[in-house]
Symmetry: C2
Subunit: 200 residues, 2 copies
């Protein structure tokens, strides 16, 4: 925004533009939108930013984001605490919870191994996962990282650390997405679907 | 976001989702991003929202957004105050300023006439434009609203109000965009380009 623009607007647009997926053009549009909101809504938005950052932390068990010391999933006694689903980020927990089919608990790594970006095992919450396993009582760990190079590498790395502890380690199944069309499936997905076929 | 998510995060995501062009999925991603920002940056963002809303107002002359009573363009004596370019929103002022060719002043309507959305002439800053003209000294008013149904209707409506005041009213030229390709131009644009052709 050129210098004829009001400085507070330029600063606000820069803040929006610093968020992922928001370019300078959209950021400017958002800043103008804030001007058209009433004062009360802007104050609420401003406070929501502070509240989220100040009051949300990682669950002492699963490392998912929560307001409490132990998150609602880890404190839920009706869930199966013998199965841990290992995911990359809190978003993935939300995705699994939406299925309403998974009744175990989670462990959020907060990232995937990526030596190129200097994300080494000590940057992830792997130590905390090992600590949960040493405490005993875990029967299965499901590696539910994305089917990407980093996701597969992380799953393999963690699995190799866990197997010597005598726990069952599994990986999510890969195949055709439900409702997907054969002709649009890429070769690797189709090969995985063929390889992991189930007898009827 | 399901109820296993921390409440402050759900609230923050809802605030982001209330902004134009941001869906619930992106809003959730942005809320998680805020968690990964350092406390200082979040406080700055929070403050920027308040500052923009509290310290920015409409220029008493042109109605553009500014921190001062009179905006830098209206207070610039080197500009030609006899020509007023009428635009829909502050964004359009930025667009004209980028050309570095326009040396007149502006008038921001803050919207376009749209009876369907209940945006009637009294909702726009038309009264303020008429007041500037009554003060005298204006030679030309350029109607620079978008070439859309609402933009054209607003230009026509305002032009009809201004003409009896003995001021020249002009409209932006429509034609092929510079660098554009004939084959991709729509019929109406091509017709306008033909109609408004210039002899060489």
């Amino acid at each position: 925004m050129a210098d004829h623009n009001a400085l507070p607007l330029v600063i606000l647009a820069e803040k929006f533009a610093s968020l992922p997926g928001i370019g300078m053009k959209s950021a400017q549009r958002l800043a103008y939108h804030v001007m058209s909101m009433d004062m009360h809504s802007v104050e609420e938005f401003s406070q929501a930013l502070l509240d989220a950052k100040r009051n949300v932390r990682c669950c002492a068990h699963c490392q998912n984001l929560t307001e409490r010391e132990i998150c609602p999933i880890c404190s839920d006694e009706s869930r199966d605490h013998k199965i841990i689903c290992v995911v990359e980020s809190p978003k993935d927990v939300t995705a699994f919870e939406r299925t309403r089919e998974y009744n175990g608990v989670y462990h959020v790594l907060h990232g995937l191994l990526s030596p190129m970006d200097n994300i080494t095992p000590d940057k992830l919450r792997i130590r905390e996962l090992l600590a949960r396993l040493s405490a005993g009582g875990i029967e299965e760990v499901i590696m539910a990282t994305n089917p990407t190079v980093e996701g597969d590498a992380t799953a393999l790395y963690v699995a190799n650390l866990l197997k010597p502890l005598g726990v069952n380690v599994s990986r999510l199944a890969f195949g055709l997405p439900v409702g997907g069309m054969l002709e649009y499936a890429d070769e690797v997905t189709l090969f995985k679907a063929l390889e992991n076929r189930n007898f009827m």
